[in-house]
Symmetry: C2
Subunit: 507 residues, 2 copies
């Protein structure tokens, strides 16, 4: 028995709107990787037009009618555990959110952020916040308008309305409840590590290596861990990201440091983790909720897991060290696996989030969460951002930020209009550790396999439990389904302690 | 005094439709240069959707109403020589053509050709016409339907309806009237050259040169002749083309032969000629007829002129030879300018159009014109194309085509759905020679300047007379305005004889 006609029509309409989004995604990727500088003005108009068209298609009255018909159909809504019921739940959620926004606001936001991203990049190059400030001001205004359209429960706050778009169910109060104790425990770990007398050698992170060879090496690793280049690409951009338009066209970017292979490798494994999630979504569900990722937090769990639990593990470097020798020859002679493993796990508070180690990374996120919460509530004037940023870096990381390039201009997110996004990095980090503990329980000899270059068991395990499901489960339900428990910071803290303390001679 | 409100609204609607076309252009470029193989299926849906949306916007009733209002406005239509009057004339033409096509046909053609291009590329690789045949059959059918929608005058034929889309006013009868005598005169020139006892040395065309350095060299040349990389790119693709979405984002592709620098250089200068036309269109008119190229024939005149009149000239190589030495060092020592100039002008009948010399090139076009005319009229079954192709190569070029890869599968055009396109290559070739004679009359010391690497005078002359005008003049009027005469084959034949005969020791 096939699905009722109203359901088929609903999916068709959804796919049609999604197709416009897929086109926007290609244009956005192109803007970051390929577009000549002169293209920026018309590109912002293209993206604004597509945002408006997608919004029109997503919010068409007919979609609402079809949704109601489907919801009234006993065959479709009968089994709460069926994928179809889940798809209808998610379609209703998306429709309800989209119809709250006027098309003019959607278009304006797309236009403003396309230009702001370009201005942000220029401002960052020049370390000139004043160039970015008016754009940030406008983006904050538009985001506050957006939040007002969505609304939020009385018990919540304006930031929640935006966060919901990235992480269903996420609120500032919840995030704070996770972050406050996590910060204390991280600080305790950091205090011990920074006070240790033993530390891993940094030599490997100061080794100049040809960037063309680095490029070939990280591509080999991405392919080996399971990223499919028949359905994807890897390019270079200022800010690494995973883009592309659907599971058969996934586009990673990375960047290289001439003196630090691990920078480019870490970015690549991180983005490949995102990419394997995208590639693992079912193509026959493309353009429907069953062909989409659950949330940014879950997405980030996949990237973190490959970057940190795999890429910074002893087992990975048992396999990786002889591979390095094949690519770089004499240049890497004299670096045993154990030394590279140590170099990959040095803890050092720094200004730059994307360069941060696993122990300090979440401190950067906490700073951003505080600031964006205040920007969006109206407590913090965008003009005062640099000062507020620098003050929080003193408090959280005991650092004096030298300039805005290494301060509040370092991240692209706000210029893209993304507020409520940052905490998903930490949620993803915690989820990664918790899923990885479950994978170690489920898969005998998992880490021994890494040592032999065998990564397929982990990828397949994740594919079956996460990737292939699309949005069937919400983040909390998925976490319980995969790991048997709700999200907790304990697995992540265990991961840090058990890896870092021995490297720093601590017990 | 500003333009009337109806005119402003009309332009706004036109720009909106054009913007979708600009997005399609980025996606098409991406498909040929960047997209992973897995992307093809969804890409065809994206392009079909955009084609439908663009068609909807272009043919909206409101556009027709605004057009009629503008045409009735004495201030707008008063002066037949004003740009505004010309813009209205072209807008009416476009609207009238677009409204003749049903949206379903536009969408179907976009979808079929996006897949067909991929299948053609695979068929060509395997030299397997049977793989491409069903797609060609379907494309011919859809093109015949398209032609039937447009219609054609009683005195004309079905092919004319399609050619009008590429070259306003072009008919098969006119093309034949140019091609028949041209073929006879070309044959006479070829007979003399192929019978000559002296010929230039081919040594330079057999010289292996590093392709990375070739890439840097051709990029330098493109920039030197005037292609602006702030508003454009140069990449590599199987089939060189000039794409991109507007005058500030123009994207050239080229390809390289390890043993023949002149292949990659010729393609690059050719595409840069197209690119400089696009970059020379006025950005403030982007999306209106005054910001668009006149026709494919005029476009081709710009590419041919830079490729042949400039790039294969003695003066160019006076400048180019020492440049070569700077890039390739000892590898090019022992090649005087005169020898490279000779090598750039060797006449040799071959199978491949894009590799053809100036004397045989148009024979390839004549073959394609005959075949597409018959395919579209229904006289030639697509299944019989390889046989018919090979027969015409015997007649026109006295060659036995060895396989379909080097035969009827060599060109992308028909897989893109482009019928009526090929003759514009020859019209462009003739126009290039005629414009170049006019430039030599107008600009004192033009060729001496090439010898010093000065190309700006020619580019500026073309910009003022051709590029900056958009579609103000139709092809024939433009030719008269630039050269003082209607299009004739004589300048091209003079160009061939005066260059080639001395190189072959003929008088």
């Amino acid at each position: 028995m096939g699905a009722p006609a109203c359901y088929e029509s609903l999916l068709e309409a959804t796919r049609e709107a999604h197709l416009i989004g897929a086109t926007s995604a290609v244009l956005s990727w192109d803007q970051e990787t390929m577009m000549p500088p002169g293209g920026v003005e018309l590109r912002s108009r293209q993206l604004a037009q597509l945002a408006r068209l997608q919004h029109e298609l997503s919010t068409a009255e007919r979609v609402g009618e079809l949704l109601s018909q489907c919801e009234a159909d006993a065959n479709l809504a009968a089994d709460p555990a069926s994928p179809t019921t889940a798809a209808l739940r998610e379609l209703r959620r998306d429709y309800s959110r989209a119809t709250k926004l006027p098309a003019s606001l959607v278009e304006e936001l797309a236009k403003v952020t396309s230009i702001a991203q370009h201005e942000w990049a220029e401002a960052r190059k020049a370390s000139d916040f004043s160039r970015f400030e008016p754009h940030l001001k406008r983006i904050v205004e538009l985001n506050r308008q957006t939040a007002a359209c969505f609304g939020w429960p009385k018990s919540g706050e304006v930031w929640d309305a935006l966060a919901e778009g990235y992480e269903p169910g996420c609120t500032a109060a919840q995030v704070e409840a996770v972050f406050t104790p996590l910060r204390a425990q991280l600080q305790a770990i950091l205090d011990r590590i920074l006070g240790a007398t033993q530390r891993p050698s940094n030599r490997f992170n100061e080794l100049p290596l040809n960037t063309d060879t680095q490029q070939r090496f990280v591509r080999m690793v991405a392919e080996r861990i399971g990223f499919d280049f028949n359905r994807g690409r890897l390019d270079t951009s200022t800010h690494p990201f995973c883009g592309g338009s659907h599971c058969r066209d996934v586009r990673l970017t990375t960047r290289f440091s001439p003196n630090c292979l691990l920078d480019g490798l870490g970015s690549t494994m991180h983005e490949a983790g995102h990419g394997m999630y995208e590639q693992g979504l079912p193509f026959d569900q493309c353009g429907t909720p069953l062909g989409e990722a659950v949330s940014l937090g879950i997405h980030e769990s996949q990237s973190r897991l490959w970057e940190n639990q795999v890429g910074r593990s002893r087992a990975f470097w048992k396999w990786g060290t002889p591979q390095l020798a094949q690519f770089f020859g004499a240049a890497v002679a004299g670096f045993p696996a154990e030394e590279i493993y140590g170099a990959a796990n040095i803890v050092e508070p720094g200004y730059i989030r994307v360069d941060a180690d696993e122990a300090t990374y979440n401190m950067h996120i906490m700073v951003r969460f505080q600031l964006e919460r205040r920007l969006i509530s109206g407590d913090l004037d965008p003009a005062d951002l640099p000062e507020a940023w620098n003050e929080l870096y003193r408090v959280y990381l005991h650092l004096e930020v030298p300039d805005d390039r290494r301060g509040c201009l370092q991240d692209v997110h706000w210029s893209m209009g993304a507020f409520g996004y940052f905490p998903t990095y930490t949620l993803g980090t915690l989820t990664a550790a918790q899923m990885y503990e479950a994978a170690c329980r489920d898969i005998p000899g998992l880490e021994a396999g890494f040592g032999e270059g065998q990564f397929a068991p982990l990828r397949e395990w994740l594919n079956a439990r996460v990737h292939s499901l699309g949005r069937q489960l919400r983040p909390d339900a998925l976490c319980r389904s995969v790991t048997g428990a709700s999200l907790s910071a304990e697995p992540f803290l265990r991961h840090l302690r058990s890896k870092l303390f021995p490297l720093y001679g601590l017990s």
